[in-house]
């Protein structure tokens, strides 16, 4: 998806793109996190994400994907290890300073109040305002330009709550752009979207990465990693089990192991006239429904004698 060119930056924020000093955008090293005394959620996770990368985090529920994102956003304080943003320890950055570097795009946002799409997008300017200050006409203009860039300027005065899921996601991306952060953190950005909006949203995300943003996102769809990401990280039980280019990491073997269902990853050749001819996608391998259920439910007798396992 082609986006209109980025508006001129005049607010002195770090523009997306590689750090002149060469530091990676996100550098997580030896990160551990636990809730309370026992609830281990992350164990010794190390990960770096560079500018112009889309890093997709894959893994079953409870693997620690969201916990990792929340550590990168500075919401959670690691029990051990460090998170560095462009080489700077995250704890040493003031909240406003951090907000100028890392933008958060949630699954959806819900407010009972009728904020307009432009209201939401303007909020991206908050880290650049004094604590007592409100957005100026210039901030509104900047936010409107970002809506325009994503092709949704006509929605500016519509109520955010009344927009479709896909439009809302684009508004939240526009807010992240108004925030002018080099790092975009997306938590299952397409979980609530239909197929068309899912594709549109992720194409915008991939385009933003090509412009130099570093993107880290969680997803439940391995094909998202294969189609839109240039980096895939597999997680299970709070630990990284694979990290690399999606073509190397998102394999049938890995996915079958990760999710406990047999999966096949296959190449697809697009018809001529498209930039990228060869693409890979994943399909589940059909199995008998009984074998796919694991562990077996009590009423499925394995011995074939007609009695339930509980009765044996």
């Amino acid at each position: 998806m082609a986006l209109s060119p980025a508006p001129q930056v005049t607010d002195g924020a770090a523009a997306p793109g590689p750090d002149p000093a060469g530091a990676p955008e996100i550098e997580v090293s030896g990160l551990s996190f636990r809730y309370g005394r026992t609830g281990h959620r992350l164990t010794d996770v190390s990960l770096t994400v560079h500018a112009a990368e889309v890093c997709a985090l894959l893994g079953p529920n409870g693997a620690g994907k969201t916990t990792l994102l929340r550590c990168v956003l500075g919401f959670l304080k690691p029990t051990a290890g460090t998170v560095r943003i462009r080489g700077q320890e995250i704890g040493s950055l003031a909240p406003r300073e951090l907000a100028r570097r890392v933008a958060y795009v949630p699954q959806s946002t819900s407010s009972p109040f009728p904020f307009t799409a432009l209201d939401i997008a303007v909020m991206g300017r908050t880290p650049y305002l004094g604590v007592l200050e409100s957005p100026s006409a210039r901030d509104r203009r900047g936010a409107l330009a970002q809506l325009d860039r994503l092709g949704i300027a006509h929605l500016a005065d519509r109520s955010f709550a009344a927009l479709s899921g896909g439009e809302r996601q684009l508004v939240l991306l526009a807010r992240a752009l108004a925030q002018r952060a080099a790092i975009l953190v997306l938590d299952e950005p397409t979980a609530a979207l239909d197929y068309g909006n899912e594709v549109r949203t992720l194409q915008v995300v991939a385009e933003l990465a090509r412009e130099g943003h570093a993107v880290i996102m969680t997803t439940h769809q391995p094909s998202h990693a294969l189609t839109y990401a240039n980096r895939a990280v597999l997680m299970r039980g709070g630990a990284l089990i694979a990290d690399g280019h999606p073509d190397d990491v998102v394999t049938g073997e890995h996915l079958s192991d990760l999710y406990g269902v047999p999966v096949h990853v296959a190449g697809v050749t697009l018809p001529p006239g498209h930039g990228r001819r060869e693409m890979r996608t994943c399909v589940p391998i059909p199995t008998s429904p009984v074998a796919a259920l694991s562990p077996p439910l009590p009423f499925q007798s394995n011995t074939g004698d007609g009695r339930s396992p509980a009765a044996r």
């Binding site: 909240p95 958060y104 908050t126 409107l144």
Partner: protein, 355 residues
């Protein structure tokens, strides 16, 4: 400073927005004009009625030194009898509506009212005890204000130690503390003398502006003024907070600080309003909705518009309370009778969005 248009399409939209902004400001000005007209009319209403020109002549001479002195009786009616009551109506209406708007925005819940932390029940208990002990009006105001604050502090303590700062536990804590203080109010009424103090307590709890005096309003005006300034200063941060905790945090908003400031200012204003006028419900719940209808949900506009509408509304209702019959009608009963059906209308219109 002229800035080059980033996108041509945006400039036309911006022009529309600027026009819309002017329209928004016009609405605020219009509301202010309505309020001023209402004030002048209110000075004229009552057993001894005065024309608007007479009122303006008295106010012009007494407040600004313009024109000739006005006859003793007209002056006394305007300045001594009606002035404190009208000022009290403006103050209480502003305080209740502003704190309601702040709480609704902060709790992200359109059904929240300023009494949410048990402040009104606490202040009511303080007033009841003061009446039982035959204390004077100043002491009553101070004790009721203190008990209102105490109720909020107890609710906050519950939230802090039981709910670890959760907003839902805070609301539940407020309900618990409110119920407890209501029980204490009932016991004060039970022990009151049915001939003297019981009717006094009951009438106080109904809410009235009849007790207002000029010297008794000085401290309340200062408190409400400071609280309004505090809320104004965090207006945008509070607006961002209304979209969600995580998002506000990712935008660099210091949630704890904004919460503390909003709860502090709203509690002080509510306790002040109750200590001046007794328990006047529904204003803080309904007026912010009306204001949102006029000005949108952004707290930047919601606060001034809520304050203006709240002041106008309570002034108009108090005019009815003191002129409809030969005796003062209880204000709290009137606001409930007007507020409840109005709220049903709001529910019918927006109910599905709120759930």
């Amino acid at each position: 400073m002229p800035v080059a248009d980033p996108v041509p399409g945006a400039s036309r939209r911006l022009a529309e927005r600027v026009r819309a902004g002017v329209a928004d400001n016009l609405r605020v000005v219009l509301l202010a004009v309505v309020l001023l007209a209402l004030v002048v009319i209110s000075f004229g209403l009552g057993r001894y009625s005065l024309g608007p020109l007479t009122v303006l002549r008295v106010l012009g001479h007494e407040l600004f030194g313009i024109g000739e002195p006005v006859s003793g009786q007209n002056r006394a009616v305007v300045m001594d009898i009606r002035m404190p009551r009208i000022l009290a109506a403006l103050l209480v209406g502003t305080a209740l509506a502003s704190s309601g708007a702040a709480y609704q925005t902060m709790f992200r819940n359109p059904l929240v009212s300023p009494e949410i932390l048990g402040v009104a029940a606490g202040a009511g208990f303080g007033a009841s005890v003061s009446i039982l002990l035959h204390l004077d009006t100043t002491a009553l105001q101070i004790i009721s204000f203190g008990c209102g604050l105490l109720a909020a502090v107890l609710a906050l303590t519950i939230a802090r130690f039981v709910g670890r700062g959760s907003l839902i536990i805070l609301v539940l804590g407020g309900i618990i503390i409110g119920a407890m203080f209501n029980a204490l109010i009932s016991s004060a009424q039970y022990f009151a003398n049915p001939e003297t103090t019981l009717p006094e307590i009951t009438f106080w709890l109904f809410g009235s502006l009849g007790r207002a005096s000029m010297h008794g309003l000085i401290v309340p005006v200062v408190i409400v003024g400071v609280c309004l300034i505090a809320l104004t200063s965090v207006r945008w941060q509070l607006t961002v907070l209304a979209t969600g905790d995580d998002e506000a945090r990712s935008l660099g908003v210091n949630r704890t600080r904004i919460w503390a400031l909003t709860i502090g200012a709203s509690t002080l204003m509510t306790a002040t309003a109750v200590s001046v006028a007794g328990i006047i419900g529904w204003v803080g719940l309904v007026v912010p909705h009306l204001a949102r209808f006029f000005a949108g949900p952004s707290f930047n506009r919601l606060l001034p518009v809520s304050a203006l509408i709240g002041a106008s509304y309570l002034l108009a209702v108090d005019d009815v309370a003191r002129t409809a019959t030969s005796m003062d009608l209880p204000l709290g009963i009137l606001t409930a009778l007007i507020g409840a059906p109005f709220f049903v209308g709001l529910l019918a219109k927006a109910g599905r969005q709120w759930l």
